[in-house]
């Protein structure tokens, strides 16, 4: 034997670097990241680009894009600046996307973790509840929740989170079921680690990668759901949101296409970026599926 097994390999680069290396191999994912960065930047700089209220009257109603440089992307029916709406809308869309996703993931993780970890009747009960939620068409449930709670953006976001948790719950449950009998969990249990620690310290971090990837899907769907609500006139009119802009813009679609089309394209691109981001994350976090 020439090589001793106890010799260490050269240290590997940090997780972050490895992650980034894997991520950047996917060129589409880089594009996704770029668009996402642009959207985030828009959300952050909204206050600099237009310090005023994006809902105020900024010019003559229905000014076409590139006509008046005070409102470069034109104005809507009430003379609101579309560019400013686009920037402030990025905030709302991201907020809805991120918070609703967090809500959905949080509920999903708790339910899925308990069901998957304990199994037995806990699993049975929790899965029946999950099935019940899954059986009700989620958009109908969303409409019902919005009918109950009203169209405040906070409630809408919460409601979107509430209708989106079943898929992550099932994923977390499946992950937990496969991880709970892994040897490292047994090893930790054998050290005397408590159930709570096993669930949250040992298993959860290992169950997260597919959930993180799926989060990008929820985020995308949340934005689509918010816009569909707004389309049906159930958006929160106190904020400039892309969904609201489309919802109102469609009334003037035939005469002032830009009112709906510009935020529409913004939604398509944002959702697209989430989706590409998700694929990149998948490549980076679950490297088994290699190119």
């Amino acid at each position: 034997m020439t090589v001793l097994d106890t010799e260490l390999r050269p240290p590997e680069p940090s997780r972050g670097i490895v992650f980034w290396r894997r991520y950047r191999r996917n060129r589409a994912a880089l594009l996704g990241l770029f668009i996402f960065a642009v959207v985030v930047l828009m959300a952050l700089t909204a206050g600099f680009v237009d310090p005023g209220d994006p809902l105020r009257r900024a010019g003559d109603p229905l000014t076409a894009p590139f006509v008046d440089m005070a409102t470069p992307l034109g104005t809507d029916q009430l003379g609101r600046d579309i560019l400013s709406g686009l920037f402030y809308g990025a905030r709302i869309s991201l907020l809805v996307g991120v918070v609703a996703t967090l809500v959905a993931i949080a509920i999903g993780v708790i339910i899925g973790a308990l069901a998957g970890y304990f199994g037995g009747w806990v699993d049975d009960v929790l899965m029946r509840v999950t099935e019940a939620f899954q059986t009700i068409p989620n958009f109908v449930l969303l409409l019902t929740l919005v009918a109950i709670l009203g169209s405040k953006i906070e409630w809408i976001t919460l409601a979107i989170g509430i209708v989106s948790w079943t898929a992550p719950a099932r994923m977390v449950r499946a992950e937990f079921m496969s991880l709970r009998n892994r040897e490292f969990v047994d090893a930790a249990r054998n050290l005397g680690v408590s159930n709570t620690s096993l669930i949250f310290r040992e298993i959860l971090p290992n169950a997260l990668p597919p959930i993180i990837v799926y989060a990008s899907v929820i985020m995308a769907l949340s934005i689509l759901l918010e816009s569909a609500l707004a389309f049906l006139g159930l958006g929160d009119p106190n904020y400039a949101s892309w969904g609201n802009m489309i919802g109102q813009g469609r009334a003037v679609l035939r005469t002032a296409w830009y009112c709906a089309a510009i935020p529409g394209i913004a939604i398509v691109l944002t959702v697209l970026s989430f989706s590409l981001l998700g694929e990149g994350l998948n490549d980076a976090l679950n490297p088994r599926q290699k190119q």
């Binding site: 019940a132 899954q134 059986t135 958009f139 109908v140 019902t144 529409g264 939604i267 959702v271």
Partner: protein, 329 residues
């Protein structure tokens, strides 16, 4: 198996026994949830009428039993439901069962066509993309899939309507048939098909993209499995590999998704049915929510639960058919 019943029947009964608590949970939950909403169906009706005087409103409430405590209302409803009586719709002034049956056909037609198109086309494109992974074909298909996925269905619907109905005049704007057309036989079928093209497209594209992406990764995964290597070592060609070895195994996760998505599609059809004025359950559900038409909404949810249970049962059977590892007997 000691009982002399055929296994499929026993399995069905077992599934039914599992489904009943879920359905009861759903029904009670929905009932109480809807009761939390401000206002009731009388408010909605009066709003629709353009107003009414106070006695009239009071009388309606008593008539509809809305003056009773919630628990009494719930108990009465569940009692009736236990005999499969879905009650009376105060908004439609018809038995809920009639209201639902009127709509069910359209919805099933729309959902069935959308899902089957999404499924077949998605699976086919996904398989093609996976077999030509990372080529131009794959990139085109994957990009299309992403765009389908990212475009809100209402946006797509409006754009299609603008193009195909208004500008080109090829397709009707909405509805399920030409109303004063009085078509019969194949003309009628053709007429309905024409009306369904755009709604089907609008509804199916996002699911198509789901299936496409899932199928693509599933095929890529299965193609890496050992038995595919075995088949290749046997001298099987790529086509044979695809159809005899990869396809069936790769379809399994897609079939699972299919079962899970059925109720989501019903939700998605709310918007599409609204835009294309298709008299389906999705639109009915939305209307029932904003009209607080408890009985109708409960009926829809009930019907939907049953459909979902049946569809899941069928996908399980299909799954068992596809996956010989699952014993049928």
């Amino acid at each position: 198996m000691k009982l002399a019943l055929p296994p499929i029947l026993i399995y069905s009964l077992r599934r039914l026994a599992q489904a009943i608590p879920v359905i009861i949970l759903i029904m009670v939950g929905t009932f109480l949830l809807l009761k939390l909403a401000p206002g009731d169906t009388v408010d909605a009706l009066v709003g629709d009428m353009g107003g009414a005087d106070a006695q009239f409103i009071e009388r309606l409430r008593v008539e509809y039993g809305l003056d009773q405590p919630v628990w009494v209302q719930l108990w009465r409803y569940m009692e009736k439901l236990a005999t499969f009586d879905l009650g009376w719709s105060f908004v439609y002034e018809q038995p809920v069962a009639t209201v639902l049956m009127d709509r069910l056909g359209t919805t099933l037609l729309l959902m069935a066509t959308s899902l089957s198109i999404a499924f077949t086309v998605g699976v086919a494109l996904g398989a093609i993309a996976a077999r030509r992974a990372y080529s131009l074909t794959d990139n085109v298909i994957s990009t299309l899939g992403l765009i389908f996925y990212a475009t809100p269905s209402f946006f797509l619907s409006l754009m299609m309507m603008l193009l195909f109905s208004v500008k080109l005049g090829w397709l009707p704007v909405g509805g399920i048939k030409t109303i004063a057309g009085f078509y019969t036989g194949w003309d009628h079928v053709w007429d309905v098909a024409l009306h369904l093209i755009m709604p089907t497209a609008a509804l199916s594209l996002i699911y198509l993209s789901f299936y496409l992406r899932l199928m693509r990764s599933s095929v890529l995964q299965v193609a890496d499995l050992d038995f595919v290597r075995t088949a290749r070592a046997k001298g099987a060609g790529e086509t044979r590999l695809m159809f005899h070895h990869i396809m069936r195994n790769a379809l399994l996760p897609v079939v699972t998704l299919f079962g899970l998505q059925f109720s989501t599609v019903l939700g998605g059809s709310v918007v599409v049915e609204t835009i294309f004025t298709l008299p389906g359950l999705g639109q009915l559900a939305y209307q029932s929510v904003i009209q607080r038409d408890m009985n109708t909404l409960m009926g829809i949810i009930f019907l939907c639960s049953i459909i979902v249970v049946v569809v899941n049962f069928l996908t399980d059977l299909l799954y068992a058919r596809l996956d010989s590892r699952i014993e049928l007997a």
